[in-house]
């Protein structure tokens, strides 16, 4: 997963992009980069780590100009971390080409093979690099034509922010898998994965980039230059469930309100008799509010979140017990002792962390422990940008709900139903991609998932 951000027409373009990426940090923690342009010179700063690790005042000062593009990259595997930082940047025929991409293509293998045969040299293992080559091969000097021809060859998910010469380009794939919105700050235009980044810099939300839409922003203003056609939308429902920040509006609606409603529906579907309800902080905090309002259960903090857990934590090598999970949340014995409790969670992926949490709560004295999850069981991998573990590692892919509950060590476990989830959503069911719950993929890559393909292509 990734976060993309761009600014055109502000003398602090790179500083605003830094702030935007800080707000979008949850979309990608592995690496970060910002490219900026002042009409003559392209500046670039990037690094492995969080926005706060990579950027300091000195580096920001080097990023001159009124136009900037930034990118947060999610954790991937392998040795290729440093070379896979985005935005990708090259100079081609004396003009800068900068690409920041959120999503994954599904025809990577076919495109890569064809281009390399013609002599194209690839420097990264990211599908995003294909865009650069597709654009470079187009002989036309017309920007619109070039973009339409290049993007038409790509299948899959992309929310793109690009700099082509003196233009900021925003584009979204025809199905609209990933969010992308436009804001305005004074005379400057801003493009961002989520609205929380607009909020931070004080930009006004204008509208979303429509699925399939290509937008050009330059000194003449904003222009929607084309919309690629598609029969069906496929908004990622997991953005609402888990991925986006609760204070963002995506696909036009507030994420926190959706999560609260999921919690409310969950309480209706699966009521429970308990001493109190508690969230796993902070992931369960939002559904929990809807849950307690509907269930009329007291709310308690049964576990306290350590404020410093975003920081590096060394697991001392000789100590056998793993403290990595425990350091994040500490149960309060005085609260839990001899109580029957229900835990609210937003989702379960591997189930291993939940298992440790439940064990810790039992050790702190909790009697009955029930869990309510505000989405259905996740059973299938994502080919459109969410870095789920492989199918094998998804606990619900091979276990029934009852088995998952036993695995975690619960007295009862209930997941919100698919219908219950879709009923809460602010769009029609057919507009969502729910493949991670149902396995119904609209398009699927021929040869496995992307990262494996490209790593293989290079060996």
């Amino acid at each position: 997963m990734c976060g993309v951000f761009g600014v055109f027409g502000h003398k602090e373009a790179a500083n605003l992009t830094y702030l935007g990426l800080y707000a979008l940090q949850h979309r990608g923690e592995e690496s970060v980069g910002i490219a900026s342009f002042n009409g003559k010179q392209l500046s670039y700063q990037k690094g492995v780590g969080l926005v706060s690790d990579v950027f300091d005042t000195a580096r920001l000062k080097k990023l001159k100009g009124y136009c900037a593009v930034g990118h947060n990259r999610y954790s991937t595997t392998g040795s290729s971390v440093a070379e896979n930082i985005q935005p990708i940047m090259v100079n081609h025929r004396k003009a800068p080409v900068v690409v920041a991409h959120n999503g994954n293509f599904t025809n990577t293998y076919e495109l890569h093979r064809a281009l390399e045969k013609e002599g194209a040299i690839f420097h990264t293992t990211m599908d995003s690099e294909l865009i650069i080559h597709l654009l470079a091969r187009e002989k036309s000097d017309d920007l619109k034509e070039k973009l339409i021809r290049a993007l038409s060859q790509i299948k899959g998910a992309y929310s793109l922010v690009m700099m082509l010469g003196d233009n900021l380009i925003a584009a979204r794939d025809p199905r609209g898998y990933r969010p992308l919105c436009i804001g305005k700050l004074h005379n400057a235009y801003v493009v961002s994965s989520e609205t929380c980044a607009l909020d931070l810099i004080g930009a006004r939300y204008v509208r979303d980039v429509a699925p399939g839409e290509i937008i050009k922003i330059n000194s003449q203003g904003l222009q929607s230059i084309h919309t690629l056609q598609s029969s069906q939308h496929a908004y990622c429902i997991f953005e609402y469930i888990y991925f986006s920040r609760p204070d963002s509006n995506i696909f036009g609606h507030n994420v926190y309100q959706v999560r609260k409603d999921l919690g409310r529906n969950l309480a209706r579907e699966f009521p429970v008799q308990c001493d109190f309800a508690m969230p796993i902080p902070d992931s369960g905090n939002y559904a929990a509010v809807g849950f307690i309002q509907e269930a009329e259960l007291p709310f308690e903090w049964g576990m306290i979140r350590n404020h410093y857990v975003g920081r590096t934590f060394i697991q001392p090598s000789q100590i056998t017990r793993d403290f990595r999970v425990k350091v994040k949340l500490n149960p309060i014995s005085d609260v839990l002792k001899d109580k029957n409790i229900v835990i609210i969670e937003d989702s379960i992926v591997r189930g291993t962390t939940s298992k440790i949490r439940v064990k810790t709560l039992r050790e702190a004295g909790a009697k009955q422990i029930h869990m309510r999850v505000s989405c259905p069981p996740i059973r299938y991998p994502c080919f459109y940008g969410i870095d789920f573990p492989t199918k094998k590692e998804l606990v619900a892919s091979s276990k029934t709900v009852e088995e998952v509950g036993r695995f975690i060590g619960l007295d009862s476990l209930c997941y919100l139903s698919l219908e219950g989830m879709l009923a809460t959503m602010p769009h029609k069911p057919c507009e969502f991609c729910t493949a991670c719950f149902t396995g119904n993929y609209l398009e699927k890559p021929k040869k496995g998932v992307k990262k494996n393909i490209l790593e293989l292509l290079r060996r």
Copy 2:
């Protein structure tokens, strides 16, 4: 403020101390150090920054031995950061002397002057260094006698963890200003500022070090060697209000439960008609639970806390607006729009951050904004270890409650009464130091606060 931690009798002493300091990080973010001893050689690692910044696997590996002492130091002013890292460590007469100190002395000036006249050379501007010199001057070879004579000369607040030769020493001043507890892990003894650090490493809480008590731990086990007498206890009430972690037990009681009760009393004292109640996350989260239970108001998340705010945040230099406060919490317009709300906070110090928060909530659409604070107005500085700003900067020191409310921009502001606060506490009122609220100091330094004194003494 500071956190202290020590281990005796465990082959992973330094690793456990690392974990302990990680859990006590909130007590001091400026610098950190760990000294360890294997019976022959003393190892030492320290640095400026958080525990997670300073320690990595390689540094931890260098800390050998069964005994370790660690310290987290709170932010202070000036250029002296690097030389003022604790624990203080010297070799004296072939034996290691290691001191980790939480608290502040009130007779620093007198002691420093007298010792320097006799030829003592000071290397830091910390009052804690006095202990080293007082111990070195004692000619007796009897450890107990030495400790009693040295500590008897000191006035003020200290919770100490020390290594003297092959002994781990824990000591607490006769009034017991700061917490200090003892735990046990298998055959090892652990000393810690708070119990949350015992929880993390899985140690069993044994008891608190009593006010005035001096404890010696070595291969023969734990021995309480002496208790310095005092007429009156003076537990810091602000540890319950704000400073300690909610999942810790201090002075024998759970902090979260106390805060919840403070919130409950607050709702009783100052009820309010509103659409919903919301905390300022995370500081107000605990009192808010008691408040909503008593007030029977709906609970909402009106602001979302950014998970990455513990990280460095660069305020881009050219941008005039300050994002440092805004980056931490983002209001959700959809929740706040046209609503009357009450905010729950644990305390107000300068008032400047609250002012910005309220402004942000208004911009997000909130109509009426009320605030309820779960302690009385803070009006006086602390001489016993809490790094409050100077009296002038404490917003309540020169303003009435009404004026503070206007300053912050509230429709109404109410503080819990002194009586209401004391009534909630699990100890008798006379056992607390409440000087920051009342100005009633049991002992006061002759010449201003410590840090100024020592900085002056060196110039």
Copy 3:
């Protein structure tokens, strides 16, 4: 200028390459890189700075395999330092392509323009990158054919060490501007710019790569696969005069012996009456030996070289006088006082350093100061790899010998004649490029020097 080095068939390939580059450090101080291959995986380590700055034990350990290619890069201008480190490395059609290049092409502009039009994307401003693209465009699967076709398109100077799949390739342009030799260490083959690198690792010198020759080394051994034809050799005479190490043999002959002979001829052409002769250490040390033997003058150390001058030297910003030259050599007043001296130098480029040296010697008490230079005046830039300053900055380009002597502040200045220089050489005059002395270029780029071209091409 640059140094290139490669090894095939040794399990310590990267370690040997590290040693080789350490020995070739004088050929390039700006940046360094090593790529190694173990048949499956390509490893790469690089950095800005000297070999000793960039490599440590940890980095060397990461370079696995029996085949390695390394490169030292000379100082160039501009911001492009980090991206212009060699060897250049890409993966193309699942095989590694690694290029290390010494020299400069003269048809860079034409090749770059043509390739970019066809969609090639350039990542550096080095002409060396062209080789990669020329190779990638060749559709043939035959390595020999591919290499001949690609290299035939290039004009100018190149001594190349490359890795193509599981082959180590060595190649030299048809005129043989730059040296390149082959050595053998047990069963392994080594390719190096100079023999001093073979000496260090204990490899036996086998022979030079012939001008125009393409050599393939793999598990089947060494094979000379083709020789590109050329009408005339053009060995760089400046390699003998100044650039190569005195302990190297290049173009088949020892550099120190040539320099000693140049000094001997210099003494014959321009005898001088003096108290003693002294070199400017260390550059003049070698010609000086021949000079004193022929001139029968006493030898003295009039200036002492600071052993630490290779190290960074900060010119304190507020001090107006520049210490950068003075810190290197300190005159000995006791030796120089009231003496008439002759200084031996290998060459004069800008003349500014010599001017400061002479001033320093005068201040230390020298009476008459004569200078004898063991090559003719340098008047023209080099297009084949030596980073001379621009013509304007070459002191002899616009001044007569007498004017240069006055500029430097000498009592007399004499340069060895072109004929005198060529007569000393171990090859026929027609086999050398002497363009920097004569302006007779065999081939010349259409549009200025390379670095300007490529920097322009990107803007």
Copy 4:
């Protein structure tokens, strides 16, 4: 061994000290520090490594004021590197006390023990720290009295540069083991271990600090405040032989001229029939000039010194052969092949490096190899500051000259005689300490060498 440097009365005091330490780098490569004072505030910068590693523009800028003291420290053993950087600096009774020391005390053990008994706390394992404590214990406010009393208690070798309040103090032990001189630059005074540092900054040499003399420099100018009496001088003769830079004047005379004379006497004492003479560069370069003038042998460079050897050199771990010696000097086969040669060296310590050099020369083809050394065999350790290896490691301590020659692999080996050495010296024999050659110590520590004592005292 160490280098000391101080400036009073120049607004660039710290920058000049940086330059001075750069020139004195050969006296100590382990660590470096500079303290400066502007009348109000003391600034301090220090680090492990060479001057060029530790200081950059930013660090130099932080060193404000008209007075500065700097120190280069020689390599010592153990873990105590970072804490043993000089100058030592403390604040005592509101005034700065800064000490830079070259030499070693011989009554360290007695002083340390007595002071610690009285409660003094030591922070380093350097004998130099004793000075600080001796000064702090003096109750008198009179600077002169304080200095005389403190220094009178010390036995052994010291050349000191100190800052006491607003005074720069220079002092030398009564025997004058180590050099120390005074220079003047405009109105500023400069104190330095050697004159080469005065040369670099353009200061005029004024005179040496006399043995036993204490000098005070402040805004009133320079004043010689006292001279401690001594019966006999003991100038370190090894400073002339090896340690000082050849371009320095020490004890009033030029080092290069002394070394040239040693070479001349060596040729007289031990003539040899050979094809040519060659130095081991650079150590033998100076005696070689005198040797060839007297012996009338041709001079040749048989080995070439690598310019980069001051830099870190990694010995790749898996390669069995050690390249550390070989990387420094490469023999030239064309010069050495079938020749009888004589090597000139300044001294032999362990003999192991010479052994490798001779082996290398043989491999390069040399027939007979003779060696002439311009000082007698070194047989005894130094207690006054030269970090010789232990007696056991000194090759000549247990071997006859003939055995040493065989060990190294020579056809003949001759050392200059003690008489021959002393006859060349510009002072009377009785004024020198020659203990490393003769074992005649004027004063000797009771308990072994210093570094062992203090390391022991701390354990």
